[in-house]
Amino acid sequence: MGDIAVRVQGLSKQYRIGKQESSRNFREVLTDALYAPFRRTAGLLRGNASAAANLNETFWALKDVSFEIKKGDVVGIIGRNGAGKSTLLKILSRISEPTEGQVDIYGRVGALLEVGTGFHAELTGRENIYLNGAILGMSREEIRRKFDEIVTFAEVEKFIDTPVKHYSSGMGLRLGFAVAAHLEPEILIVDEVLAVGDAAFQKKCLGKMGEVAGEGRTVLFVSHNMPSISVLCSSCILLEYGSVSAIGNTSLITHRYLSSQSDLVSGKVSLTDVKRAGSGQIRITAIKITSPDQNDVIYPNDTVNITIQYKLSNEYNGGKVDFGIEVADFYGSKLMTCSTQFTGEHFMNMLPEATVSCTIANLPLVPGVYLSSAWCAINGVAVDRIENFTEFTVSENDFYGTGKLPNARKHGPFLVKNKWELIREAIVE
């Protein structure tokens, strides 16, 4: 053997959390504030520290996690928020102690959970390099040797003797990453630090990490960014609800992760509970969003089909009927509307109960979670409207074939094919 870098066996971590407080009125809050010190002191005197801190409920952030990582592997750890990724990372980097289980680590560990840990705003770039390096576990001699390289990598030569508080946030991040990138551990643990910084710097960081991986070092990489996971990692560990749900080849695991994520797309929406507006001459009874291969995973550029079931009430007595679907981002800003009002495909002869279908060709949305609303109108007057009836997820794929995708918050919500070329003609004055 001897080729194992990290072995995790039956690892569990329990957290104590405060009791959920139900909403209370002002008088209750006030009386509780008066009694709590006595209650807590009594708890403390009885030797029960967690009662004193009002921490009674517990939950398992990790439960019986076991896996092995071979030397030289670059492994991604993925999972939803709250799946236990950060907890696992904290235990592996010795920040937090496990409740049960054991981890054997064969090599010097460098953990990078944050860029620029311990940076002090009042100190200069030079001083912070030494401080941060020491915090990350480098010796003074090691930092001195790599100093110039770090400064060049961070591109802050001019400002090296300026206090960091005068740096732009980008410069601070670059400096932080530059120090970390020059760590030479045998096992590198990296949290989602690439989510920061501009695109050029992200690329540089990915390149540097690729180099690290190429040197045969073991890397554990936590990220939500599937394109960079795909580029860097050969295998992945998928965490769900604090347990390992799958280990294997990156493309398989990321695909499994993305499809599990989209069970948010329930397909069947109970519309009976939804608050409705409009006169109700037509009622929408069901809405379904389907992806081309019917497996509920929607990718950018897919042809997506949305079907709306409706029912006419007795009050309906003819008229031009229009349907519409609206898509908003997760923060509620409307992104687009698809409607028969614009396409001109009005419905005139309505069946009492039927389905209308809308096909969106080449869905131009970047990966993310979206909300949709549907409505219908008779002769231009809205009769039914369902606000944000469902959320759907557009999953990450390699739209441009480069492993890179725009980020909705940073680059805007739309994804369109585009082509660039250099016009090799002299500009005529």
Binding site: M1, G2, I4, R7, Q9, G10, Y15, A49, A53, S66, F67, E68, K90, I91, L92, S93, R94, I95, S96, E97, P98, E100, G101, Q102, V103, D104, I105, Y106, G107, R108, V109, A111, L113, E114, T117, G118, H120, E122, L123, E127, Y130, L131, A134, I135, L136, G137, S139, R140, S243, V244, A246, I247, G248, N249, L252, I253, H255, R256, S259, N295
Partner: protein
């Protein structure tokens, strides 16, 4: 989707069959009391140096008078004490001019008090570090107390200058001074370790510290000589407060008062060591919860 290529999660821990290699590091839950880990602390001594250096560098950034603050505090207290206790209350001062008598105590006291206060707040103040990276946590309170040494040195120089101005030349016993400084250091660190570990879970501590420092100051013979206590036994037992040993030691070493090291110093040293040892063990025991609670 080809699911059959995904290996299921390993359910049972694999049995290490032929593992010739010892793990570099094994992480497992710690039970009960933990050893202080002095070996690891030594390995991280450079970090201790850098954190101390940072505290020193940052302490007087963006202040007008800078390190002069290290002198102003004890000097102003000396003036107030000289006026009220020396001039008005006519408190005896072991035959030394009252200002020097009180300053010789105030300089080590200020070192102790600032060391204790910054040590107690150190863990909560470094929560961002504790949550993001591993290193022996003892380094944080250690650096907090260490960084006070610079302030002490500055104040000490002023003390010597003041003494010379009053025509008092330090006695040869001054060679014993580092020991008394160390005693103050050990006491500040010991109490600070208890308080900073407690403060992580119970922020009540931060409200207790100003009181504690104030009470402790009056329980220490700074404004008055310990020789006021006439009963021999009571006087010796006074050494249970390690700062009594420190202050009387300073006066003896510098001013030649007749408070030569005796039973008091022994008691003070033993108590200080007991506090430090217990504080260290308590700190190590609570250490594992710091990242989760801080």
């Amino acid at each position: 989707m080809i699911t059959d290529q995904i290996t299921p999660p390993i359910s049972a821990p694999p049995i290490p069959m032929s593992e010739p290699e010892e793990p570099y590091l094994t992480i497992r839950p710690s039970k009960g009391w933990v050893a202080p880990g002095l070996k690891e602390l030594w390995k991280y001594r450079e970090l201790l140096y850098f954190l101390t250096w940072r505290d020193v560098k940052v302490r007087y950034k963006q202040t007008v008078v800078g390190v002069a603050w290290a002198i102003i505090q004890p000097l102003m207290t000396m003036v107030v004490f000289s006026l009220f206790f020396g001039q008005l209350a006519k408190i005896p001062s072991d035959g030394v001019p009252y200002p020097i008598f009180s300053l010789a105590a105030l300089v080590p006291w200020t070192f102790f008090a600032t060391g204790l206060a910054s040590c107690s707040g150190s863990l909560v103040g470094s929560a961002n570090l504790i949550k993001k990276i591993y290193f022996p946590r003892l380094i944080i309170p250690l650096a907090a107390v260490f960084s006070g040494v610079i302030d002490f040195s500055v104040a000490f120089v002023i003390l010597i200058l003041m003494m010379l101005a009053f025509g008092i030349v330090p006695t040869l016993n001054i060679i014993w001074l580092p020991f008394f400084l160390l005693l103050a250091f050990v006491t500040a660190l010991g109490v600070g370790l208890w308080l900073t570990a407690l403060n992580v879970q119970f922020r009540d501590i931060q409200y207790i510290i100003p009181f504690l420092v104030q009470f402790w100051m009056f329980a220490t013979p700074i404004a008055y000589p310990s020789s006021l206590i006439k009963n021999e036994l009571a006087h010796t037992l006074y050494g249970v407060n390690p700062m009594v040993g420190v202050v009387e030691g300073f006066r003896w070493a510098l001013l030649g008062t007749n408070t030569a090291p005796g039973p008091i110093i022994i008691i003070s040293t033993l108590v200080a060591l007991a506090i430090l040892t217990s504080g260290m063990y308590y700190f190590r025991r609570m250490e594992k919860t710091f990242a989760d609670v801080a």
